[in-house]
């Protein structure tokens, strides 16, 4: 009986590593060349962030400059009228 138990244990120890092996994939999955961390490219995001800030800033400076020029023109006209 002890011999039979020993054989069973030996078989289990020998078979267990084989069962623990990962199963082969059922089908092949193609992956992109890029690294997993680079699936979303950083450069377009950086360019969009900086581009938006630059364009909005230039637009705002132009808008304030134009409004200021208009008001100062009106002011000069009114002051000239009063003289």
């Amino acid at each position: 009986m002890r011999a039979l138990s020993g054989i069973c244990l030996l078989v289990c120890l020998l078979v267990a590593p084989a069962l623990a092996q990962p199963q082969p994939p059922k089908d092949f999955v193609a992956v992109d060349e890029s690294q997993p961390g680079e699936q979303i490219p950083a450069l377009p995001l950086i360019a969009s962030a900086y581009g938006f800030i630059w364009i909005a800033l230039l637009g705002y400076v132009w808008s304030v400059g134009r409004r200021l020029q208009k008001v100062e023109g009106e002011l000069a006209e009114l002051e000239a009228k009063r003289k």
Binding site: G37, E38, I40, A42, L43, L45, I46, S48, A49, Y50, F52, I53, A56, L57, Y60, V61, V64, G65, R67, L68, V71, E72, E74, L75, L78, E79, K81, R82
Partner: protein
């Protein structure tokens, strides 16, 4: 435009022209890689967003309680800049988050409170533009109320559990990342001062035009 504003504008333009090279020289971050470089414009924009909201609130207090008419001009100027810098923050943030967090937006305390502050100042600007007579006092009250939201925005990352990095990130930055950051903070602060002075001047001149029209009528 005064001479000092012109000098500041020249210095700001030069700093913004040099900034891409200084940012490019900064090292990449270990986990986020290249995309973290949005930080160098995102963080100073966010600081100016909060600073302009505070300036608008304080100037509104001076207008409302001390009856200083010119303080309202500063409040209007700062109110418009809050929307401008808020837009910079709220556009650059999600572009960074898309890669760093995998999502464009999260309804977490920092992001939500920033959006609320931005929307409050959009409402303030709309009120000042289309509100008609009496909108100056109502607007001042609104700016003061909105200013207190700045505290909420600031502490949100340290007090609540949030996906956004805490404020302790800034002092712990390595020197190679700190130099471009403080360079950009200086450039944005100068930009804020220049724009604030230009925009306040516009309001001062508008007030003079209105006074001249009123004098003509009487």
């Amino acid at each position: 435009m005064t001479r000092s504003t012109l000098y500041m504008l020249a210095a700001t333009t030069a700093m913004f022209a040099v900034a891409p090279w200084i940012i490019d020289a900064a090292p990449n971050e270990a986990t986020m890689g290249l995309v973290y470089k949005i930080y160098f414009f995102h963080m100073p924009s966010a600081w100016m967003f909060l600073l302009s909201a505070i300036v608008a609130g304080v100037a509104s207090m001076r207008f409302l309680f001390l009856k200083r008419a010119t303080a309202d001009h500063w409040a209007m100027a700062a109110g418009e800049l809050t929307v401008l810098f808020g837009a910079f923050t709220l556009v650059s943030g999600p572009l960074w988050a898309r890669k760093a967090w995998g999502v464009w937006w999260q309804w977490d305390p920092r992001l939500t409170s920033s959006l609320v502050l931005f929307l409050l100042f959009v409402a303030y600007n709309l009120l000042r533009r289309y509100g008609g007579p009496g909108s100056d006092k109502l607007g001042a009250g609104m700016a003061i109320f909105s200013m207190f939201n700045v505290v909420f925005v600031w502490v949100s990352v340290n007090y609540w559990r949030t996906i956004h990095p805490p404020t302790t990130v800034v002092p712990s930055l390595p020197v190679a990342m700190g130099i471009p950051l403080w360079f950009c903070v200086t450039a944005f602060t100068l930009l804020f001062i220049v724009l604030l002075r230009m925009r306040a001047r516009l309001e001062h001149q508008r007030a003079r035009v209105d006074a001249l029209y009123l004098a003509e009528e009487s």
